[in-house]
């Protein structure tokens, strides 16, 4: 089965029903390994035990951005190719991205209090991450406000592409401005600055979170396709009754 075959909603439903149990199982195993490694990892020489919060904070920050990236590609699919699954993918990714961004903000605040002495500062990284969360809320509100899914999809796609400007701002905020948030330490020129005993559990947790996102995204897309079928049948029912 090729990717273009999956572009058909009925085929996607069959694909989703087949892969979701396996994906769910692999996700559970990945989390079991990741959490085991994270709990067994040594404390950081500066952060102490609070480094354990990083195993949640960093993957959720990545996924918050990844989900908006998925929505941006889907927005192009909606606006340029008018693909039926593109807006389904975008609508499904929005609540997931919002949830992971919220988790990033919450865990960041809980890490900041013992390490920085404050839950929140208006520095560029934190503020741009908060802006991303507000953008997610805006897109979700737009989907809920416009009743016709195709009209809602176009409006949400435009907002998504405008909001994509925030992604490079988040990524490079620590380079462009003098921030309290530390600079890049995982993906950077010259290699990671994190010692392998902490880096490996972090990457395993990132894989586990990504698998969770993929699983939930496919499941949410399946729900959205079913919701649209229900909507179509209800319209047929209303027409038959009138």
């Amino acid at each position: 089965m090729s990717l273009t075959d999956l572009a058909n909603p009925s085929r996607f439903l069959k694909f989703a029903n087949r892969v979701l149990p396996w994906l769910g199982g692999v996700t559970v195993i990945a989390f079991a390994i990741g959490l085991n490694q994270a709990m067994g990892a040594p404390d950081d020489y500066q952060q102490g035990a609070t480094v354990k919060i990083m195993y949640l904070h960093v993957p959720s920050a990545w996924l918050g951005m990844l989900a908006w990236g998925v929505m941006s590609i889907a927005a192009l699919g909606t606006l340029v190719w008018r693909h039926p699954l593109a807006d389904v993918a975008a609508k499904s990714a929005a609540p997931l991205g919002a949830a992971f961004t919220l988790l990033c903000l919450v865990t960041g605040a809980l890490w900041g209090r013992p390490e920085w002495g404050t839950y929140w500062v208006w520095d560029a990284r934190l503020t741009s991450e908060l802006v991303l969360f507000l953008l997610y809320l805006g897109v979700i509100a737009l989907w809920r406000t416009v009743e016709d899914p195709s009209r809602a999809a176009r409006a949400a796609a435009i907002l998504t592409l405008v909001g994509a400007v925030d992604l490079p701002i988040i990524k490079f905020s620590v380079d462009w401005w003098n921030t309290l948030h530390q600079g890049e330490s995982v993906f950077r020129f010259g290699g990671s600055t994190i010692y392998p005993t902490i880096l490996v559990p972090l990457l395993v947790m990132a894989v586990a979170f990504t698998l969770l996102f993929v699983t939930l995204q496919i499941a949410a897309m399946r729900n959205e396709i079913l919701r649209r079928r229900v909507r179509t049948l209800r319209l047929m029912q209303a027409q038959a009754a009138s």
Partner: protein, 67 residues
């Protein structure tokens, strides 16, 4: 000593993760059941998608021809 001092922040972070992930999983599972139930009810009342209806019409026509 440091670990004990910061333990509430670590526990709160993992609790927040459990809540967020739990809510997401519950939302997807509950929504799936609701959509599947609504679809089944509509199909029981005789409303089917055009492709599904077309398939059943074709099957009916073929059965009539064979008869």
């Amino acid at each position: 000593m440091e670990a004990i001092n910061h333990l509430p922040f670590i526990v709160a972070s993992y609790a927040a993760a459990v809540v967020v992930v739990g809510v997401l999983i519950a939302w997807v599972a509950i929504d799936f059941r609701a959509q599947r139930r609504a679809l089944a009810e509509l199909e029981m009342r005789g409303f089917a998608r055009r492709s599904a209806a077309a398939r059943s019409d074709t099957t009916l026509a073929q059965a009539k021809e064979q008869a």
